[in-house]
Amino acid sequence: MAGLVYRLDRVAYAYPQAPGPFSLELEALTIAEGEVLALVGPNGAGKTTLLMLLAFLLRPARGRLDFLGRDPWAETDGAAEARREAVLLTHHPYLFKGTIADNVAFGLKLRKFPEAETRARAAAALSLVELDGWGGRSVSGLSAGQAQRVALARALALRPRVLLLDEPTANLDAALGLRMEAVLREAGHDWGTTVVFSTHNFSQASRLADAIFYLSEGRRVEFSHENCFSGTTATDGRTSWIEPKPGVRIVFPGETRGHVTCVIDPSAIRLTSAGGGAAPPSGPNVFRGRVSRMETTDAATALVRVSGDLVFRATVPVGELEAGGISLSREVLLTFEPRSVKVVGERPAEVG
């Protein structure tokens, strides 16, 4: 079994002046050598914060973050040494003034690579991102997508042990994004590089990653953020609920108070056609919506997105789609049991 690159134990981070105790709080996370891990979550979920922690640009406020079996923050210059092994490509990469070749060679020069090897690696990295022969050009005037590719080449040229990428294909068109995904897969395969990347795109995460780590409001959640809803609870003592939109309730059992995030397992959601004259099911957690997207994750299962008052993602056996009259743009009823709602991120309600 491959060794561990990262081991996070009760790591938490708090931004100055941010509300609440911690912006990111994780019980545990391990990342193995050569693993490709996707961080999925909505804006503000903590993906970038986690990447910055993994890149040793932020120091945990609490807990322990081991890298290759050591805690770099406990050693003098340990964080700087770890940064040489774990390279982060930020969401909006910055290119230094000068030529593209200067930029791609930047990290190699810092590491005092011989001139000939620096040139060879820089050229190879530019070739990987399909910018062969662009080395002599100035970085001024590059489009966002081109700048993203130069920054990716700059990171790839280092052949780092760990490559951390914050939404690496965000500025690229779909075709180029797919080609860059192939580059990342190759890097992982050929060099044994551990890759951790953040994305909003569940499909990209499924395509690229060995494992997916879902985040919401700075906490780990078990499922995709599309089924995550936050709000302040109300309760009748027997059940509790939040209203992500006025009058739209997600109900769960027990008495819970405070601000919570409700997560609904996509496989716990049942879809039925809204047509056919049958009486709609009664009880809590019944929603009406329209199928806005369908994609198959494998031969047996389809991911169905239903857009109504709220947007849900459900996994449905492919065989049930036709039998249930579920197709794109059709109106459907969506139900799930209160007990299938997972409540996370529970915090005491603010007083006053």
């Binding site: 640009l57 390279v87 930020t90 001024s140």
Partner: protein
């Protein structure tokens, strides 16, 4: 005015002001880097004092250092009054806030991602600081040259701390003052043109620096 005297005056101007610009830059640029990269209590006060100090008249600075360096002053024992060293010290004090202010502005305009990017690619904190300076190299060059131009063209400090001693502390600006006082306007005008050529040369360097920045960005 003989050629040797003229050449010496030019040399004294370039030497004292050049040295003042180098020393003041060595102090001002790190200070500006520190100020630009951190937020702390009292920073606004420091910037306000620096800005006020920029407007200090040269004769006031000359008077201050004269009182310090004169025989009865607290630093009189150093024997610096009426030397080129005294002129340089006074000019450092004159241009320090100017270079600090310009450098601070230049460094604040560097994209904050520059330092972060350098760190992500394996730079140490010190190397990342150098990268930020490199990204601002042309505006920083402008700051240093502006400081030099200010020092080379001032007359109050040179006169009060140098004493306008022939073949020793007489520079271009004190020569102009002397020639004008003697009624030798022609010499004064020639020296004035010389100073103008020097200043234009500095401006040319600044412009070349700016062109380089635009071209290389």
């Amino acid at each position: 005015m003989i050629a040797r005297e003229l050449a010496l005056a030019v040399w004294v101007s370039l030497k004292t002001s050049g040295l003042a610009a180098v020393i003041a830059s060595a102090l001002a640029v790190p200070a500006a880097l520190f100020l630009a990269g951190r937020e702390f209590r009292g920073k606004k006060l420091i910037l306000a004092v620096n800005q006020t100090w920029m407007a200090a008249p040269t004769v006031v600075i000359g008077l201050l250092f004269y009182s310090l360096l004169s025989r009865n002053g607290p630093l009189g024992g150093l024997g610096l009054l009426y030397t080129q060293a005294a002129m340089t010290v006074g000019q450092i004090f004159l241009i320090l806030p100017l270079i600090t202010g310009f450098s601070y502005t230049a460094l604040r305009q560097v994209d904050r991602r520059a330092r972060l990017t350098a760190l992500t690619l394996g730079a140490t904190g010190r190397q990342a600081g150098w990268i930020v300076l490199r990204e601002a190299r042309f505006p920083l060059l402008v700051a240093v040259l502006a400081g030099f131009a200010r020092a080379v063209s001032e007359v109050g400090i040179a006169m009060m701390l140098g004493g306008n001693i022939r073949y020793a502390t007489r520079n271009i600006t004190t020569s102009i003052a002397l020639e004008t006082a003697k009624g030798e306007f022609r010499n004064g005008v020639v020296l004035g043109v010389l100073l103008l050529v020097l200043t234009l040369g500095i401006n040319y360097l600044v412009q070349a620096g700016l062109r380089g920045r635009d071209g290389g960005a």
